[in-house]
């Protein structure tokens, strides 16, 4: 097997291994965790850490699996297909920043480190106002997913990054429930004691945005598969509705959008793995995230429509996919933010 073949084989293994937390077809665990606190399962989280998934993309020299973003997007896609709520993408951001630090227990699942970086809605700016002075952190962070389950927050400030224990004095956390059954935390730091860290979030944010696109890719894949199966079994007017040409063509359109999303996400992962120029990486990520946000909402909306009335019940699993897409489509930048960023970054490559 050549090198490319071997790499494809590793990716296949990542995909297979994801089955451990995504038992085929069973969404009962996911359903049961909705609207609970902290919205995910500690035991499953521990398992995810045992697999080393938060550092899957990191080079082996930094304690990772060396599979790069090509590996991580495969994993995120599979977790998306299973609607897995455990905060892998947040933890992988933390792993990227903490890599090399003597913080192995943080990565091993004993402690969960969740980045708290956002200060404005629909923004990718990690440190607008928060300050870190004399190891004290002051500021306000928004939309922190699954914040209720964190042991530490990895916080971005103007002066740099810092680690703050969840229970430290001066940390106030309030939670808003989200449509998918999880939460967004709003965290206020008022001179909270913080341990400064080296590094920055630039690369980690790009990886999180791309992984989110991959997560959307996965949930769209599964929503589409469920919908195709429904079309084939639901009988109206004496035949499976899959025989109606209008629904067949709509399914074809969903398939095309899904394939575009897949191609876009995968090519962005290649770019992140092979390209060191940050603007080029950002353009690729923006392209993938913009496509994933739009296509996943398109697919899940149409999945509801194609299910008819049953799609509007909470009992039907298909709705879980729409709700998940509603939350994730705008995480790490909306489609429109990413389109604008792409236009600003990407060279015109059309010399035809």
């Amino acid at each position: 097997m050549d090198q490319a073949g071997e790499f494809r084989e590793s990716l296949r293994m990542v995909r297979d291994s994801a089955a451990a937390v995504v038992p085929h077809g069973d969404l009962r665990r996911i359903r049961a965790l909705r609207f609970t606190d902290p919205g995910f399962d500690r035991a499953t989280w521990k398992q995810i850490c045992n697999f080393g998934w938060p550092s899957l993309a990191l080079p082996e020299s930094e304690g990772g699996s060396g599979l790069g973003m090509r590996g991580f997007v495969v994993l995120a896609e599979e977790l998306g297909a299973g609607l897995v709520p455990e905060p892998l993408i947040s933890a992988a951001m933390a792993a990227r920043v903490l890599s090399g630090a003597p913080l192995s227990d943080l990565l091993a699942g004993t402690s969960l480190v969740i980045p708290a970086w956002q200060e404005r809605p629909n923004s990718l700016d990690p440190a607008a106002d928060t300050t870190l002075r004399n190891d004290r952190l002051t500021g306000r962070k928004l939309f922190v997913p699954m914040a209720g389950g964190a042991d530490f927050f990895l916080v971005s400030a103007r002066e740099g990054l810092a680690l703050v224990p969840r229970d430290a004095a001066g940390v106030m956390l309030s939670l808003d429930r989200t449509q998918d059954g999880g939460t967004f935390g709003t965290i206020t730091f008022d001179h909270a004691p913080a341990t400064p860290l080296p590094g920055h979030l630039d690369r980690a944010l790009e990886e999180a945005a791309l992984a989110t696109a991959a997560y959307l890719l996965g949930l769209s894949r599964r929503a589409f598969a469920i919908t195709l199966a429904y079309l084939a079994t639901r009988v109206q007017f004496g035949q499976p509705i899959a025989r109606f040409q209008v629904l067949r063509h709509r399914a074809a359109d969903l398939k095309i959008q899904w394939e575009l999303m897949r191609a876009s996400v995968q090519s962005a992962a290649v770019t992140l793995d092979l390209e060191s120029d940050l603007p080029v990486c950002r353009a690729a990520v923006s392209r993938a995230k913009a496509r994933a946000a739009d296509a996943s909402l398109f697919i899940t909306r149409q999945a509801i429509q194609l299910h008819g009335g049953i799609g509007y019940t909470d009992e039907a699993d298909i709705g879980l996919f729409l709700r998940k897409a509603m939350v994730h489509a705008n995480l790490y930048g909306s489609a429109s933010l990413h389109r604008t960023r792409y236009a600003a970054l990407a060279l015109e490559e059309y010399d035809a």
Binding site: A293, E315, S334
Partner: protein
């Protein structure tokens, strides 16, 4: 209470009629119930129901002899417009809009005398049992069956999407009474008290996490023979005959109009009000709404002229629901992370993109999916061979 009787009201010129309704709403409608985010239960709307009842305003379309206002379709439309403009909640109106008119047209005298006053008094609250799990778009394939056994119909089967069935004490059903007849032909119309043994109601939690819809199960329920309306096996055509200008309402610009105003508020909150590319999208939606209103007005004008509506009214339903959805999709896109919030932003009911997005989903499904509506347009309006 209004100073004006239903009779006097009906005789007013349109503009006076309109003002009179507006005044009534301002004076009587509970402010807390304006523009509710979700469908309300009878426990919430009962005071308003009874207020309308006391004023004699509950049944605009019924003839006066049965306690209605005897308004023309045109006047009913004005009344609905004013109620919508005021943001009045929809109450449990199946008795008023569906079963009342059906009985008035097809019921026996005994049925009219028994049921109509109890609808007006609020003693009977009705729900509708048409759809079944395997009879949605293809309603004519329904299988809930009633078999005559002496003086009773023995009823077995299951209905779904029985809206607010938990509020109701009566249900009207389309049931199969001849399983050998073809499709629509063996179907009858049956009135059933909900407290009979063998009836189970199970609320369905919907995508909006609300319980307005229910499944209703019938297990060997014995229904008095006289509860059948009209002729046996003619239920389908009676139910269809009831479809009147109300079909216009499925295409009313109300939802889209409401949503567009909220899109604008949301854009302001998100700092996008002056963003040129948002402006471009917003203007397109405004124009779509304005043109939809112009088309709606053409149909409303037909109703005002006393003409009946053709199959082409389906166009309104398709266009309105998809416009409403485009607007809420735009909300979701511009709301940033707020699009994921379960509750309104900062507790402001006007700023709830995810809620409105979800609520707009079923509008292209209920009342005949948009796919079915397009089938109707192709067949009955364009008369394409098929």
């Amino acid at each position: 209470m209004p100073d004006i009787s239903p009779e006097a009201l009906a005789s007013l010129e349109e503009s006076a009629f309109r003002s009179c309704i507006r005044e009534f709403l301002v004076a009587n409608y509970p402010p807390a119930l304006r523009n509710p985010p979700k469908r309300l239960h009878f426990r919430d709307t009962k005071p308003w129901y009874l207020a309308l009842s006391r004023a004699g305003w509950l049944a605009p379309g019924w003839p006066r002899e049965w306690g209605g206002m005897g308004l023309s379709a045109a006047r009913q439309l004005v009344m609905i417009e004013e109620f919508e403009r005021h943001g009045c909640a929809r109450f449990n109106d199946m008795g008023i809009t569906m079963i009342g008119p059906l009985l008035i047209r097809f019921g026996t005298d005994a049925q009219k005398r028994f049921f109509l006053p109890k609808i007006l008094s609020g003693e009977h609250i009705w729900c509708q049992g048409y759809s079944e799990p395997n009879a949605g778009s293809d309603l004519a394939s329904l299988r809930t069956e009633a078999v005559l056994d002496g003086d009773h119909w023995v009823l077995n089967g299951q209905k779904t999407w029985t809206t607010l069935a938990t509020d109701a004490n009566w249900i009207f059903l389309l049931v199969r009474t001849d399983r050998n007849a073809k499709q629509q032909q063996g179907i009858s119309f049956l009135l059933v008290p909900m407290d009979l043994p063998g009836i189970t109601v199970r609320p369905i939690i919907n995508l909006d996490l609300h319980d307005e819809f229910c499944e209703t199960f019938f297990d060997t329920v014995r229904v008095p023979r006289e509860n059948l309306v009209g002729e046996i096996n003619r239920g389908w055509s009676m139910a269809k005959a009831l479809l009147g200008f109300e079909r216009l309402l499925l295409g009313s610009p109300k939802q889209a109009s409401y949503a567009l105003a909220r899109l604008r508020l949301l854009a302001e909150r998100m700092g996008l009000a002056d963003d040129p590319s948002f402006q471009d999208r917003y203007t397109r939606l405004r124009l779509d709404l304005a043109d939809h209103k112009a088309l709606y007005e053409d149909f409303a004008e037909q109703v005002r002229r006393g003409e009946s509506l053709g199959a082409d009214v389906s166009m309104l339903k398709v266009n309105q629901s998809e416009l409403y959805q485009r607007i809420t999709e735009t909300m979701l896109e511009i709301a940033g992370e707020n699009a994921g919030l379960l509750e309104p932003m900062g507790g402001n009911r006007e700023l709830h993109p995810s809620g409105l997005f979800i609520q707009s989903r079923p509008t292209s499904i209920y009342g005949g999916t948009n796919e079915i509506q397009r089938n109707i347009i192709a067949k009955n309006v364009l008369e394409l061979p098929g």
